[in-house]
Symmetry: C2
Subunit: 205 residues, 2 copies
Amino acid sequence: MPKRVDHAERRTEIAEALVRVAGRRGLHAVGMRDVAAEAGVSLRLVQYYFETKEKLLLFGLEHLTGKFGERLAARIRAAGDGPGPRAMVEALLMTALPTDEESRIFHHLYTSYAVLAVTDRTLAAQPFIKDPDAAERALTDILRQAQAADLLQPGVDSQLTAAGLLAMSAGLGTSILVGQRSPESAAAVLDDHLDRIFRSVDAAA
Amino acid sequence: MPKRVDHAERRTEIAEALVRVAGRRGLHAVGMRDVAAEAGVSLRLVQYYFETKEKLLLFGLEHLTGKFGERLAARIRAAGDGPGPRAMVEALLMTALPTDEESRIFHHLYTSYAVLAVTDRTLAAQPFIKDPDAAERALTDILRQAQAADLLQPGVDSQLTAAGLLAMSAGLGTSILVGQRSPESAAAVLDDHLDRIFRSVDAAA
DNA sequence: CCTTTCATGGTACAGCCGTATCAACATCGT
DNA sequence: ACGATGTTGATACGGCTGTACCATGAAAGG
């Protein structure tokens, strides 16, 4: 056998090139040639590793969500060592906001994919869009634990609250993305709502 | 002068054709020829009334937001005759959810435009995206009135709450759009949060 | 009536897209 | 060493896109 190149790694490199250029010019404006140029390889090579554009996009989405999932998990883990459930919830929700460049790109492209998924059944069947309950379940669990520890206001429904907080976080995210709102004000909005869910005692850092 | 046709009306017809076909196949997949066919006119006519595709898209967005604004205003007015502030707030937020086909299309295309606005400065400068504070101000006012009438829970910040509710509504909207959530469960989430903002007395229809 | 002006239609032109084809190169098994 | 095979490159093709061009029809003003 010849040259022996790690296919998985190459595919990852190309997918990251896709993410970079799509984040810069928009997913709709990205072509195979752009990806190839960004990755510093020939067009043919992109075709070689991803036979078709659709497969490239699909893999790019996987890669994107994968990296974001890791990032999220890391932040939650870091917050887990900290003061309490509220810090974990804040970490989770704040990570979901497009604050730095990486999360901005994630939000941008995730939303792009979501829009495409409305009219593309292949995309709609992807797990990221099909099973986002993962985040919801995780948040629900955290809230339940907090509730068991009597850290929440009375009458809080963990599941509905988790769903609402995630939706709010997503909505704030796109607001930030299009420049309607600053990350700081979005954080203020989230905090205000958390104040109405957690008992006030817990507020400390 | 010749035939005398109401230009504004024709432009509206074509814009509605654009909205229809874009709602069906996605904004990214819409071409001039598709719009012409959908409107039952020739390609040249579309070019005649909108010199360029960009102008067509811009006008389509105006039309879309205009119609949606009217719809929203009508619902709020209808709810205004009703029982109280909470009903108005619910009307406003529920109208923003993609329940029927018309609002689904609105959400779909609005999000499409928002994504494009991330990389297109002309689109980003459009008022719809530049000044969506209209809805936020309106909701804030309603909440303030409710607060003055002592209908809210103590410690509610009208502005932050309004922003949060709108963001949550938007987030729930896209969840519905991509099929992650049913309109009913989204309504439940919203109601749950309103329960934590309004005093319980007000709950009746 | 007849010309001017608006309105409309058909069609052609570059340019870009994704994909396929053809060819060369490098490396590993034998 | 040598052929087989995984890997890379250059280029061509058909289809689609937005836009521009040319021509015709229809109605109001002289």
